[in-house]
Each structure stands twice: as structure tokens, then as C-alpha cells.
Subunit: 326 residues, 2 copies
Amino acid sequence: MKEFELIKEFFTAQPVSRKDVVMGIGDDCALIKANSGKLIAVTTDTLVAGVHFPLDTPPRAIGHKAVAVNLSDLAAMGAEPCWISVAITLPEVNQQWLAEFTAGVFELTEYFNVQLIGGDTTSGPLSITITAQGTVPEGKALCRNGAQNGDYLYVTGNLGDAGLALAAINGKVELTKVDFDKVLNKLNYPKPQVLAGQLMREYANSAIDVSDGLLADLNHLCQASKLGANIKVEDIPLSETLRNNLSAEAAVAMALSAGDDYQLIFTTSATNKVGLETAMGHANIDFSCIGQLNPSGEIKLSYNDLPYEAPNLGFEHFADNSSKHA
Amino acid sequence: MKEFELIKEFFTAQPVSRKDVVMGIGDDCALIKANSGKLIAVTTDTLVAGVHFPLDTPPRAIGHKAVAVNLSDLAAMGAEPCWISVAITLPEVNQQWLAEFTAGVFELTEYFNVQLIGGDTTSGPLSITITAQGTVPEGKALCRNGAQNGDYLYVTGNLGDAGLALAAINGKVELTKVDFDKVLNKLNYPKPQVLAGQLMREYANSAIDVSDGLLADLNHLCQASKLGANIKVEDIPLSETLRNNLSAEAAVAMALSAGDDYQLIFTTSATNKVGLETAMGHANIDFSCIGQLNPSGEIKLSYNDLPYEAPNLGFEHFADNSSKHA
């Protein structure tokens, strides 16, 4: 019991105290108060050691990533993150490990003013399940099924860097230390696009985050909206590191198929295009228009207006086949 | 991917559809709408195979129990259960197993009108983390720290039956098949005291659920309220099965120290005693007054007004040392 009381102390030392938390950690439940006129967005994601992150991932990265993947789901709804519950299963209680893990959790919760309101600590094989909640004004949430035919298709940031890191870890690509550190940082410490999500909700028709890869997640959005999409391959945003270390084809394949980037895919009408681009530009958010939605129900790729077939280079998402939202 | 799409289908076939769920399963987040004037109670509990339930537990029981332990936490706050998210980690996708597991989940969610709003399914060692949410009118939640000196101390139902089942499973006690089935049912299919929790919130000053054992959980309540308690051992509610199979001393020890009963401990003032007992009686809820709170900060046991020392018979809570709320 004492050992697990210790974990409780780590969690109780959290940095954020929100006015809308009536009761935080320490009772049978937390009690929170949502503003009237707001909906509560709820998401749950589990990270399993050896499945969603390599076994030797630093504990700080595990804590950071467990929070980030959940905040990324809130971002994709246009929600403001508010509260998280952390359920952690640990093979043994290791103080140093816990200190680093909670540092990873708290660096994001503090940055985004998210309060840890509870959780559970259990003994068993290492895994972390976080439930994150946020608020979004009624009628303003960005859903997967809101895309309209002709909408412009966008993505934030660059794609493929996290995939490059995994390929290097798995010995499929060799990188210089500088380049490896750069992309490993993208894999281990993804930045959830929370600000982008909230900004775009005034302009965008739909959004989804890129956890499984551009093609896979865009496909979810297209299916939900009963549409297809044209992607201009030359407009897919690739980092210099990705372009320097892979052939042009392989870099595109990585950006199309690798997951773990936690950027946002979003769509907007021609009417809102300028407003959206202006708002995102003013907020210094990187984004690229990579195509348009079509009514075909299929995703079609082109390169300089010629049809483009995505080569399958066998880069696998670390979590491929292992995770699905219920 | 296909296998996990299959799980999604199991979850999507859930029986409840609530008006306050604006978006259920299928987007990056669920969207829920809380009534104004209500707080949202949030709780998270993980069950790990081999730690919180024996490896050969029927999947229906695992599903039932994973929901029940969370609804029990909501009950202990006096909250009305509304929504759950289920994160399940599975070593392999087994259709029969999933059908039985989800049947166990849904039999409780349907009974209590709780909607499954999302979750995550991942590959790895078997464990289930559920986040349950409910609503409670502002200012009406039952907290651990609300007990007052002199409050009467109550418990719902009987205590010790789940512990007796575990003792039998672990070979420490021998039971007839009829008796074993009776107590195994208590261990595997606990009934969360949801109605009792909502009824008592008009009368009680504090409440907590019995997951770790009467003494351990009463101790949490006493510490939070900065009080002690006197327990009349002769008033602790014991089932006929428990009394028939253990010595009087061992039965009391089991009721005091074994967990997994998921009854509620609660306290009320002398003023509200009659109102509470009348309300609970009208609703056909079993309850017993087992003592009173005292200002000493200690839990004191008596038997027919003589001091009583609880014998330590080494019955261990299956989850002892393995689980602690953050």
C-alpha cells in the first residue's frame, strides 16, 4: 500500500488548479463544472509498452506522449483541453521513473492549463490510459463528417518525421545523430495542435488528427463525410530532415503512411479559405493546403497534375494493427 | 486493422442512446452536454488480469465488474451514472470472448441507462480501464470529508462475501458448491449501490464505497473528515453463507478486512437519521447502522460494549497492495 501511496504523492503535486474543478484528486470521484453553452469533449487513449512506444523510451517521453495523443484528439474537435484522468499500470514502483514520467505529464498539462483530476495506479505490465476532457461551444465542434464537396484540404506542420524516427529505431534507415535526435524528438514529444484546433473551428468544416498516417486518417474523414479527396503530392509538407534522408518517393510514402505525427487534417469551404489562412498565419501556425475534396469517395493522388501511385515501402506505423478508437 | 475494426463493431452495438450525448462513438472525441446546475463526477478504475481478477474469470464477469467498480465510485458521490469510456487491452482478438465481455458491460450500462461514448482498443496484456461519468446537483455530492462528530455510521448490504469467495478460490476455505456459487456471484457480479447513493445524498454527510475493506475504507473517510469511529462488531451485516462457513471471529475479520464488496459506507446526523432510514426502507435498500463517529481520530471496535480486537486471519484482498486511486 505504501508504495502506491507514493505514486499518489507524485500525482497530487500537479501544477494546475482550475476554478471549474470543484473536487480534484482524493475522493471517490472528481467533480467538475462545465460552463453553460459548452459541450464537453471526451477522449480516451491507451499506450502499451512495446506496442505504442519502444521499451527503452524515456519515462518523460512516455508521460508527455500519453497526454499529447489525448490532447491531439481534443484539438481535432476544436476543444479547449481542461481535465485529464491518468490510469497507469506499472510492473514496479520506481521513484526515479515516476518523477520523470510525471514531469512529462505535467509539462503539457501546465502549458495547456489542464488539471489532473484523478486516476488509478495498478500493478501489472506497463501501460497508460488517459481520459482527457475539454470544452467546446455548442455547435462549434469540428467533426469528421462535416466536410463538404469542394472543400480545400489542409494539414498542419510537417508529416513523416515521427515515421522516420521509427524507421531509424527499427534499423531501416540510417541517420546522423543530429538528424536522429531531431526526428526522435518529434516521435517522443509530439506537440498537440490545440491552438490550431481552436482557431480553425470558426472556419473549418471538418478535422481529424493524424495518428495512423495521412492516408488512413484522411480516409476516416472521407468515409464519415461520404466524400473523396484529391491530394497534390508536391504540396505535402515534408521537413528538410525527411527530404535529406530519403528519396523523394520514399519521403512522400513516409508522409502518406506513417503515423504518430499528431498534426491536424482539416477542410474548409472556398468562402472561408482566406479567413482561415489569415487567422492561422497571424497565430504563426504552420499549415499547407494539399488538395481538395471530391465526390468520388476515393482518395486520388497527383504529382504536377499527373496521377501518382503511392509506393508501399513497408514503413510501418509502430502501432499499426494494434490500436483503434472504439 | 480489421481485427480491431471488429471490436469497434461490438462496442458500437451498445444498447443505450441518451439525449445528452451530442456525439457518441466514432469521432476523435465524444461530445456530451451537462445540465446547468449539475456537476459532473468523473472516476477511472483499471482492472488488470491476474491482479484484480483471477485469470480464469469469465469474460462476462470481467465486463460486468469493470463497469460496476466505476459505477460504485459514482454511487459513493451520490451521482447519477451517465457515460462511460472503455479502454481495453487484449492479447488477441477472440470473438466469443468479446461477445461475452461486452454482454457483461452492457447488462449494467443498460440497467443504469449509461451510454458508452468511446474508448480505445489496444494489443497487449489483458487489462480494462473504464472512465465513468455521472451528474450530481451542485452542493449535493457526498464527499469523504463531510462526516461530522457524532454522525451515525452505516453500511449497505452485507460485507465479506466477496472475500469468502476469494479465500475459497485461493484454497484457504472449503465451501459447498451452492455456497461457493453464491459468494462467487458476489465477487464477480457486484451490484453498485447507485440508487442508495442517490437517495442518501439528501440525508447523509459523507460516503465512500467499500473496495479495499470496511476498515481500510472507513479509515479513508475518517482521515478525510479528521475524525474516528466506534464500530459495534455485533451490528456488522454478515450473510448467512459467511456465518455458516467461518467461525464468528473469522467472519467478522473477513467483513472488516476483505475488499471487493462494493457496498457503501455512509454517515448521517442524528437529525437526519429517521429521514434517511425511512427513505432507504421505502426503496427496499438493505442497510445497517454499525456505530458512530468519534473525535479521537481512531477506529475503535466493541462487541456487546466490550473492547474488541480484530484478529488478523491473513485473508488478503485480491488487489491488496496493487491498486490506489490517484
